[in-house]
């Protein structure tokens, strides 16, 4: 067996001939459909390995997105058998059913081409939810002490490992039903900032996240939490924002 262009020669680890029937979504914009490719089974093969195999060995016009391949960058999320997944850390063996596998682009975002979703609306909503830190100190000020064991910091820490992969956003039915809904990732980010004692934009942010398309639309399906590859809990973060906004309304501050 000749080693593949990706440098792998692991075909030798499997009995020759064992194949997975992979249905990939191919197309541009809203028009397209599933196309079948047969890919050889390999040891410890990830979904990303399969997509890469197809692009390098079968059809080089296939578009997909990836970068780090180790679950750090959040670029390679796709819909695998109807479920959003980070493909670089998802073993094919665990998802293949009767030798079949379906890979589609993420839901709830426009498709650019093939497996590449347009993530612009997802990132725009981070901005809409005021998901950026705004401090009061300049570089000439002393560093403000933040106690790691304070309740605020612990709450913020629980949500900061987000890698912006948009899996939660793709899994969220509230986004599907209301395309303007800010979504779990942006609201989770806003919640971490509301608990950052150095941040000064709390008032504006609370107004932004509790407006018509904000946190109060969440139905607590907990799909975001169920599918988050980093085990974050956006549902709990959104519940925190709901509470904070309701308290502000009752105090007449919102």
């Amino acid at each position: 067996m000749v080693s593949g262009p990706d440098g792998s020669n692991s075909d030798t680890h499997e009995p020759p001939g064992e194949m997975i029937a992979v249905s990939l979504w191919r197309g541009q914009g809203s028009s397209g459909g599933l196309v079948r490719y047969d890919v050889p089974v390999r040891d410890n093969q990830t979904i990303l390995d399969i997509v890469t195999h197809i692009q390098r060995n079968i059809d080089s016009t296939l578009s997909y997105r990836f970068a780090c391949r180790v679950g750090m960058c959040g670029s390679c999320a796709m819909t695998v058998n109807g479920v959003p997944r980070w493909t670089c850390r998802t073993h094919a063996g665990q998802f293949t059913k009767n030798g079949r596998l379906t890979v589609e682009p993420l839901r709830n975002m426009p498709i650019i081409k093939d497996l590449v979703a347009d993530m612009a609306p997802f990132f725009d909503k981070w901005q809409k939810a005021e998901g950026r830190f705004q401090g009061k100190d300049s570089r000439t000020d002393d560093v403000e002490p933040v106690r790691p064991d304070s309740p605020e910091r612990k709450t913020a820490d629980a949500g900061i490992e987000c890698i912006n992969c948009a899996i939660c956003y793709a899994a969220c039915d509230v986004v599907a039903w209301n395309p303007d809904y800010l979504g779990p990732a942006a609201l989770n980010r806003a919640w971490t900032l509301m608990n950052d004692i150095r941040d000064t934009a709390g008032g504006e942010r609370l107004r932004a996240v509790s407006a018509g398309d904000g946190c109060h639309n969440c139905h607590s399906h907990q799909s975001c939490m169920t599918f988050c590859p980093n085990d974050l809990n956006p549902t709990a973060a959104i519940a925190g924002l709901k509470r904070m906004a309701v308290r502000a309304v009752l105090k007449g501050e919102l």
């Binding site: 479920v83 899994a171 907990q222 799909s223 709901k242 509470r243």
Partner: protein
């Protein structure tokens, strides 16, 4: 409809809460109109309540009691989720609210049959 990313217990708990809420709000006007029959005395209301002896109607009432109870228990779970400290036992609570609704509806059926 159900499947893929929806194939987990807490999404089904949502679906139950939504369907029960929708059916209850559609039932409300009918409920109010029937009770309104008493405005001209007990006879009109009794004339309607005879229907409740029908086993099919009894089963529908069982369904309504179940919907009301399960919507209340499921709603209490959501209120706790939204207003109290986070609990990781949401699936347990969702299952308990389903069981609670069923228990109360069975209580209704036992009482109605007695």
């Amino acid at each position: 409809m159900i499947g893929g990313h929806r194939n987990h217990p807490l999404w089904l708990a949502f679906a139950l809460h939504r369907v029960s809420g929708l059916l209850l709000s559609l039932f409300l006007p009918a409920h109010f109109l029937v009770l309104g029959l008493a405005i001209d005395g007990a006879e009109d209301l009794d004339g309607f309540l005879v229907l409740t002896e029908n086993p099919v109607v009894k089963l529908a009432e069982f369904g309504l009691v179940f919907l009301l109870a399960v919507h209340m228990f499921g709603g209490l779970r959501l209120l706790a989720l939204e207003f109290l400290a986070w609990s990781p036992r949401q699936k347990t609570y969702a299952a308990a609210s389903l069981a609670g609704g069923f228990f109360i509806a069975c209580g209704f059926l036992l009482s109605a049959g007695a």
